[in-house]
Symmetry: D4
Subunit: 231 residues, 8 copies
């Protein structure tokens, strides 16, 4: 039973790095400081690094005082400890539609960087001002993987999806009101997109999008297992 | 009680032309041929013209055999009898995102024409191929009122709304599947749009959009009641 | 790249006035004072005026202390700086169903005025007391564009829509409880209205309704691009 | 166990007349002819009369051939056998908004008549033509109980509820499309009504509304159990 | 224009008593003290009495200090001023399923009393302990009108509806969690009830149920307009 | 890899009997005759028996012609082949609210019998006629496990749950209309029940309820693994 | 009327122990201290024990100061007074997917213990680390009844349901965000599970799951009423 | 305007191959044969190949008779014409939970093959029989990109997501009933997954998942634009 350690209220998953390529990340929401601290200790002991997401300011600052080598990012609400073991070639472009979406965009950008990816940020290029977006058309088509973040009606990934030949991961945000339904509307809109080659993660889930983007660049770095076939 | 005629199952609204500027239009869905015929007769008698919307093929052809001067449009599922009394200056542009949205686009276009408006059609310019759309940027910015129709994620009105300084009426369609929820998704998306100056009508309601567009051009033709104020 | 200025977290859209007829308006919700201030500065520098919507009292007062020429409206939660460049003929009538809808009605009225329109207010004329509404029938039919605001079941726009030959823009509000679903019910009801010539904007979106109303009066003032056609 | 008879697949409820004032009514939907016939026989034997609701044309005609004294109404989809035992004073007014709502209106009207009530029908007086409705204001205020039926946005009961001092039972219908959600929208709208004194039944449930209206007139006829109190 | 008084933000509806049988009631939610006070003054001046519903404790106590003759009920969150003008025969029974539903039950009971009805309270008789309910079977069948209030699954009105021959007005409450959806579940359940003769009002709307109950007893007291017919 | 057999489009799960106590059951919906036949053959070969659920009439009769020893039940839409290997003590009582719920009740009853349980049926005892239900109170309290099935508002399990000290498994059905939402309403209502000791399965899932009931009686027959503890 | 005691606002149900096998449990949410205290007193007087669920910290500590023999559990938010009268053989295993689900898991565990069951806890074994779960496969298959708790996508019960031949009661939790819809998503997912033998309780309803688990072990202890039948 | 050809009802997008890496694919649903044929002709003329998705049997066979070199797949409902221009290294594994999900799995597999990818199929390995799934653990961890398809509760992608370090694209299907909501439930469940590195496409959208998988393998084949950075 070497793959995890049983703390009773938690079973720390040491096997995740081997199975999934990256060590366990702690989802901070709904956990107390008393629960997070021992899990952090175990993961630092095992992997020399750890990331905690969805951590409010109060908990973040408390943990920094316990782990002085950790860094807390206020916008992304992420606690970081340690550095990437591997760096991957390629670039993840994080695009967001509006200034209010920054907290999700930074969660994505910081996660991808922490997992070893180069990140390029392109913020506040929503479709209501299409010229702003098209001014960056070259940068957009040069990106290797794109994370496209939008609240409101969530139209931005559809437009970008139609401009590129690289995978687009769309992230709806909870920014909006009324018919926006706390993000359900852009979520459903992105899933119904007329653009091909796009997939979607949960509302405000910048972390999840970055995780998949990193897996893609990791695959590029490591190469595929199977040769080209010509049927 | 000169403003309507009581047929028992229906009260034909003769006053609508005076009150609303256009005679009553018959909503065909859920009405039998036996109900539509006498209402048509009364309206033709009174106004010399009538339009029936949401009419299936079978009913449409049956009514044409009774009213040989009527014309039935198979795509728009509309029956027309007579011509506009007034013609309005300006142009309504009807834009749609995909070929599958044609039945709504034609409902809008035919309604607007029948109400006395010039109509320009621009079809199949969805946001996944933004260059197709931008190829018509000049025509789009020249339109006086725009009806923008889209199924799937309903992103097209947001992009067009950001390009023009004229009123945009957005129409979501029932074209899509799964997370599209029979049009609820583009409906909510359009209502959550980041573009200003846009309003929305019911799913597949090309008629309603055209009606409002015609009211706008009618207002332009007739002029406003109130002078410019400088506060 | 003269059409916008890149502040990193925001790309200020200088081109909007040319494209859309009015300069960019700042949506205050979800933005910090630190983000709003530089955007305001840039827009004032460029256009000599700016409006910020959805601004809570605390932020509003803070910004007024920074921009002493600005005015903050507590009911509408809007910050205004500067005056309209153009004034348009015609009158926007803002009608609301109940006293509790005032915050939306004032958002609409102040926006329309700031965009150069004459506004007439008619408040607390909900359909449960139809005589109150009909007492103003002449004023209502004389309006050039109508913004009709209602919470609860959202019936008011349907009644008014049947009385006038001018465009009606309906605004559902979040005023109600239970089956009202924070405004989803009047939103869906207005979209399902039996009145023709009506379109709908998002819940509590007085700003959006006013914006479209102003575009309509602007079109009247400037005239249409296309002549009358008689087919 | 004299209160019901056990047919295995059904327990015919003989006690309902004593408990509830009217004998059991058969809900036809989802029952086979083989199930309905023996239940009808038992109820006719016991009470000399029976009503079957929600019966499609094919089953209706089949049952009429078995029970030649029965009458099948094609609009209301109701089978009637026998006559009321008691007649109640007062008048139930059945009002509906549009011609397409007739199938619900007739279900209500026929049920109320069969339960011993005088019924007055007022059809096609939707709020988009408020003058048509107000032309009947005197008849409406004279009714003793009102059943008000509407599809689309379901606004009619709110307007009528504000005109009368008698109980209004609102019935939403499945007539509409898109945002109307098969009647959920007018249902929620009626429940959120700003008019007092209104209650609501299920979508298309003309039967249920008539049943409650009849209970009210029955109470009037029989008088209350408790004297007036002055506290 | 004697039927209402225009305060600008509010049009006080003096005609409501004549039209609807009871003077206007003030819905307190979303109104400020500054708005409620002048409306109260006008209504007291005109009718000598007024009721304000949905009033939180703070506003309630503030208004009592301004209107010392008023009484504020903490459970029902209602402010009362004055007494009924008329008293009606018959008894409204207010039944509720659980102790947590009391705030709705008292809103109903106090409203009905204030409108001139005798009220009997039967609380905490939910269907999970059917013997508690049946212990009061005689009282229940003796009631003239029943208001039945339940949260959770909302089953109580169905059981009571099957026991009586008097009108049952069902009120779902917001008491519950999870799948209860803040009262939407019992609301939909009550609308889908297998019991006949039941109608439903909005979630937590004790006021609305009492209002309709009072209209029914008022009708009994005043008698119907139309004679018995035997067709 | 002895635990299943790979047919390509299907992996027949031979290990299920050992793991779960009963062999695999075939869910017929969405499978073609060409897919069901080979799976049936494999399961009969391995276990000497098989059950196919959710099988329409046409497929059922076709399979009976292929497997003459099989029996197809038209009400439950189940195909049976073979007999139980084990019989368990105790009795499953299947209770349903209305005659229209029979198709679900029989799915439950036949499944439980086929799994080796004694079944007692009690049909058409909905809460609108509580006396019919209470006439069987002794039988109900004597049952060892209860499956309680209801459409409409789904109130029956709450009432029965309050009468017994045995596990109640509630099954909502798709019988109803309008606010019933194809069974979502009774589903949510049962989950929100005020009765303790109740759990719920999917809409119309008589099979699943019977499966769990059989597991409970199997546990009784086999006895528990752990002794009584007194802490 | 010996089966309950009428406190006016509450009818304490003394008959519940006889009818349902366990005395009444107090649902603390929405009840005031002033309401809970007398109910507790009555139940302690009658049964010598009582449990209060869904009690916040403040109320819990207040009640402990009034009833010093009571114990308040901060994680489960439960107040306990007294001990089980009977102990049952067998073991309830409480499994949860993540550390954030602990508050529900402990509600279940403490309830089951208080009702006389032996409980085994297995926490933080969500399906994303399937090896952690399978490391406990033997313990899982040895359990007599399983309560399986999960938030997020709620997949854990499906996996465990496929591993055991004992009843599985699934509990969705409100732990998650966005598309998780406060627990509606895992609730619906568990109801749609492909595993047989599973039933579901309301979101966060650890109490309800434990109650049914205890009823099952009670049935095992007491034995069934009906003999084995071989048809 | 060389990038598209305007057929009036359709603008054939020749630029898509350059922009997005693959030529336009025709979405067959809602298009008539008369619309599909000329678009096919244009695309074959330009690219020598074309794919039409969501094509029913009748249209499929009709098009094959017009284009004899085309092949129609009955399970996937896809029409293929021509072969891939490029073949990519790596392997897409298409995994599905049940036999009823085959129509989606084949849409994915055929699309990926047609876009030049090697595909490995692993069907009917749903989580209720976890041993069947784990028997293929090595194959699963060896895949380069995984498309994981499931109806019902949609748990399979979460389990697989926890086993691999390669991108997982999850596809919910419309296979299920009741609480499954035509696929909305597994869609929401997959979006709420506790596994990292997963993204989701629309219900039944095997095509979209395959498209993104092909873009990932294309990126691997072509290599990234940006070098490794070590910050």
């Amino acid at each position: 039973m070497e793959n995890f350690e049983d703390l009773g209220f938690s079973k720390v998953d040491y096997g995740r790095e081997k199975r999934q390529g990256f060590p366990e990340v702690i989802y901070g929401e709904g956990k107390t400081i008393e629960q997070i601290e021992p899990i952090m200790e175990k993961l630092i002991e095992k992997h020399g690094k750890v990331m905690v997401t969805r951590l409010d300011k109060e908990k973040g600052e408390s943990l920094v005082s316990t782990f002085p080598l950790a860094h807390y990012d206020y916008t992304a609400r992420i606690l970081l400890y340690g550095k990437p073991e591997n760096y991957y070639g390629g670039e993840v472009m994080v695009v967001c539609a509006g200034t209010s979406d920054l907290f999700v965009a930074e969660e994505a950008a910081i996660t991808a960087e922490w997992m070893g990816c180069k990140v390029k940020r392109l913020y506040d290029v929503g479709v209501a001002g299409i010229d702003r977006l098209l001014a960056f058309r070259e940068e957009i088509t040069n990106a290797d993987v794109l994370i496209v973040i939008a609240g409101m009606e969530g139209a931005l990934p559809s437009v970008i999806g139609g401009l590129v030949q690289r995978p687009v991961i769309a992230v709806p945000t909870s920014v909006g009101y009324g018919a926006h339904l706390q993000g359900i509307t852009p979520l459903l809109a992105m899933l119904s997109s007329c653009s091909s080659g796009m997939s979607v993660v949960n509302i405000d889930n910048g972390f999840g999008a970055a995780y998949q983007a990193a897996l893609i660049l990791k695959l590029v770095s490591e190469g595929v297992n199977h040769e080209i076939v010509i049927s």
